[in-house]
């Protein structure tokens, strides 16, 4: 009925799409928590600890989702894609091992201290643990993006009897697309967190929360987004130029360029048709694609016709790219719209609050769309020019893969719904907590709040 290649691809895509949602939150949220903790450490102002406490719970939940959904990956490499490790195991192996050794243990162990150790270790150790958790998540992103970039733009290796052998580790780690991909992902994570923090804080304000903490968090998020959103557009552009140099077929699919041409138009929207090799219902701006990508109105762009049988499917890459860019533009506009109001020391109006609430998870959509562009855009290769996806797949019975795929999917749908609902529930609950007592500002917050009074003997 279905072939095992297609099923394994869909299953891996589903698993990794579900997984990446949570690291996307924890990478940047870890640094935001470190910032809150530092502000608290220096100012002793309880509002920072309030913000920390709310968001550390979101971090804990997201981290748990990320850990458990990530374990499935290390199994599927072997079960569904044995050809992957057989061919490039000498390169992927050490990179994955370094990720586990330098990141996973660090973040998982320090997380315990960060979550539950506030009263058990000195303040600076707790701040240090928060730093190490953030550092660990970033190291994890570093290694995984090294491997992913290497699969896109392999370098520093030689093929001996069909197996890749490392010849230069620096060239492998800092392969041509790595710096762009790594910065693009870190910024994507930052923007996702900015809009999540702004969205949930807006939700609290919408529910009548008059405390300072959600306002402080909202401001931090919006002001960061004002800088990061345009920076992301700039880095994204550099990333695109790098892709044009190393993977022109991906750019051709992203832009819907079927034939090599000079002065290629920028296709704002169209329905790309693989059969007739044309764009239907296209809305175009003449010559703009050439201008953006070659910095010349009449620059030549290679079309898909140059990569017969070795270019990715056009429609998913084409649409995903537009979703990503569209949300990115929206984020720039919303960040500045709300940011200018806040800079004038005014309250956000209800339209702004409503917009921020509805964009709480916009970062997820943009990040996933971006990953689809780059991963589908690498097809039909698993490792560009080295290993075709079809050659790496397993010989497991397709019925088994179908069964496990259905099991994974049903669980992911349930968990995703529960996760999103729980975040809003936590925000709703936070509305009812009393404001801290500001009278003696030098004292650390603790027994003065309602929540802590119930169990003030604990952890003393």
């Amino acid at each position: 009925m279905f072939d095992v290649l297609l099923l394994s691809r869909i299953q891996f895509a589903a698993n990794i799409s579900f997984h990446i949602l949570f690291p996307t939150i924890t990478i940047a949220l870890g640094w935001l928590l470190f910032y809150f903790k530092l502000r608290y450490q220096f100012s002793k102002h309880p509002v920072w600890m309030r913000a920390y406490r709310f968001w550390v719970k979101v971090f804990a939940l997201s981290f748990a989702m990320g850990v458990v959904s990530g374990i499935t990956m290390s199994f599927q490499f072997g079960t569904n894609w044995p050809g992957f490790m057989e061919t490039i195991g000498n390169i992927a192996g050490p990179l994955l091992a370094y990720e586990v050794l330098t990141a996973f243990f660090l973040e998982a162990t320090m997380l315990g201290i960060m979550l539950f150790g506030f009263h058990r270790v000195p303040a600076w150790v707790h701040t240090g643990a928060t730093f190490l958790v953030a550092f660990g998540t970033t190291m994890s992103a570093f290694w995984i993006l090294v491997l992913n970039s290497w699969m896109q733009t392999p370098a520093g290796f030689e093929m001996i009897d069909g197996v890749a052998h490392a010849s230069d580790w620096m060239a492998i780690i800092f392969n041509p697309s790595f710096p762009y991909r790594f910065s693009h992902m870190l910024l994507a994570s930052s923007l996702t967190v900015c809009f999540l923090v702004a969205g949930l804080s807006a939700y609290r304000i919408y529910r009548g929360d008059n405390k300072k903490a959600p306002r402080v968090a909202l401001k931090t998020a919006i002001f960061s987004a004002m800088l990061i959103a345009p920076l992301q557009a700039f880095v994204g552009d550099l990333h695109g130029l790098n892709t044009l140099e190393h993977q022109p077929q991906k750019i051709a699919a992203m832009e819907g360029i079927w034939e090599t041409q000079e002065g290629a138009p920028l296709v704002l929207f169209a329905v790309p048709d693989e059969e007739s090799k044309t764009n239907k219902y296209a809305i175009e701006i003449p010559k703009l694609a050439s201008l953006i990508l070659t910095h010349s109105l009449d620059g030549e762009l290679q079309g898909l016709n140059e990569f017969e049988g070795a270019h990715p499917p056009v429609a998913p890459v084409f649409y995903s790219f537009r979703v990503m860019v569209g949300i990115g533009m929206l984020m720039i506009a919303v960040a500045w719209w709300c940011g200018i109001t806040l800079l004038r020391k005014k309250q956000l109006n209800k339209y702004q609050i409503w917009t921020l609430m509805s964009l709480s998870f916009a970062g997820w959509v943009a990040t996933l769309a971006g990953w689809y562009v780059t991963e589908i855009g690498r097809q039909p290769y698993l490792v560009s020019g080295v290993l075709r996806t079809a050659d790496a797949v397993t010989d497991i019975a397709s019925g088994n893969v179908l069964l496990t795929f259905i099991l994974y999917m049903s669980m992911y749908v349930v968990l995703l719904v529960v996760y999103v609902r729980t975040l809003f529930l936590m925000a709703k609950r936070a509305v009812d907590i009393e404001e801290y007592d500001l009278s003696p500002p030098g004292l650390p917050e603790g027994p003065r709040v309602k929540q802590a009074r119930n169990n003030s003997t604990i952890g003393a």
């Binding site: 079960t79 994955l96 050794l101 197996v163 052998h165 497991i396 968990l415 936590m426």
Partner: protein, 335 residues
């Protein structure tokens, strides 16, 4: 040091590293899975305490599984593929159970109070299913990764053995980390699970040599037989000593409450060593040896250099974490 890095030693060094991670996983995630399996559904306060006792640790404990599977993947890719393909369905069920159990841990404290019980059940059932499927896979591995009637029956039995063993280490953990009624229950659980585990180990010891002729030869060949004989003896000694200690617990000032846990750790180490020696030098029993399955020495060296530097740090901060949360479990507070 150089000897570690020689091409002939590398597969053995990596087999030892993989085995060490698996052993640490079985002990560390074993106790938090065991606590999940034993979660008392009749008393919410006890559930909170039981879960609080594993709260700061479970994330890192699970990481040992990632490292073990990761090392198998990078050092013995052919074995990883052969073993995990045979385990495709049980491993998927285990992963789903691990996911459910991991998130239940966080959701239970954050959802509406009336939903908390559902997540407690999820945590308990997820822990049971994880333990059972791990035991099932262990059984299948011992039986040479083949699905025959006999091997499936043995694997199901093995699933229950691991369920009992994780419950035992979980119960011993609760004896150490809790007090009052929960500790009394944990003492009684330890005794019951101890009997079941001892019975399970005995049966596996008797069946294994019948299935694998080479195992019998390894265990009876002199002079190594003297050394190997020490393993079951030590194991049996720990069981007997453990029962004697449990009979006297709890003592005034909570003396000796941590003894059962350390004894169970020794039992786990004995079982693990026993199994490892039975199959050496095979990594897939009867099919693939360590050397045949190993990947290229160059990339193993790169990983080993990293491990030599990083593992002491991992050990140090793991100890620091357990030291920070030493003593009796307290209610979890996010600050």
């Amino acid at each position: 040091m150089d000897i570690l890095f020689s091409d002939t030693a590398l597969p053995i060094v990596f087999a030892m590293l993989t085995a060490l991670s698996l052993l640490l996983y079985a002990i560390l995630d074993g106790f938090d899975l065991g606590v999940g399996i034993l979660l008392p559904m009749s008393d919410e306060g006890q559930r909170d305490t039981a879960i609080a006792s594993i709260g700061p640790f479970w994330d890192a404990n699970e990481t040992w599984l990632v490292l073990a599977v990761g090392l198998l993947l990078v050092a013995f890719p052919a074995a990883h593929s052969a073993i995990l393909k045979a385990f495709y369905l049980p491993a998927t069920i285990m992963l789903l159970a691990l996911i459910l159990r991991g998130v239940a841990f966080d959701f239970r404290a954050k959802v509406k109070p009336r939903r908390k019980r559902i997540w407690d059940y999820t945590f308990k059932i997820g822990s049971m299913l994880t333990a059972f499927t791990q035991g099932f896979m262990l059984g299948l591995y011992v039986m040479g990764l083949e699905y025959t009637l006999a091997s499936v029956v043995f694997s199901i039995f093995s699933g229950f053995c691991v369920l009992a063993a994780y419950s035992l280490i979980g119960a011993a953990w609760l004896v150490m980390k809790t007090s009052g009624e929960l500790q009394l229950s944990a003492i009684s659980w330890s005794k019951k699970c101890g009997v079941l585990t001892a019975f399970g180990i005995l049966v596996v010891c008797l069946v294994n040599p019948y299935v694998n002729a080479s195992v019998l030869r390894i265990w009876t060949e002199l002079p190594w037989a003297y050394f190997y004989a020490a393993i079951p003896l030590l194991c049996a000694f720990m069981f007997i000593l453990g029962f004697l200690v449990l009979k006297r617990l709890p003592l005034a000032d909570d003396a000796g409450a941590s003894l059962p846990f350390y004894m169970v750790v020794i039992i786990f180490v004995c079982c693990f060593l026993g199994l490892s020696f039975s199959f050496y030098p095979y990594v897939v029993p009867g099919q693939l040896t360590l050397n045949e399955a190993a990947s290229s020495p160059a990339s193993l060296k790169i990983i080993l250099i990293g491990s030599v530097f990083v593992l002491p740090f991992i050990g140090a901060y793991t100890v620091f974490s357990y030291y920070t949360f030493r003593g009796k479990a307290e209610q979890l507070r996010y600050y």
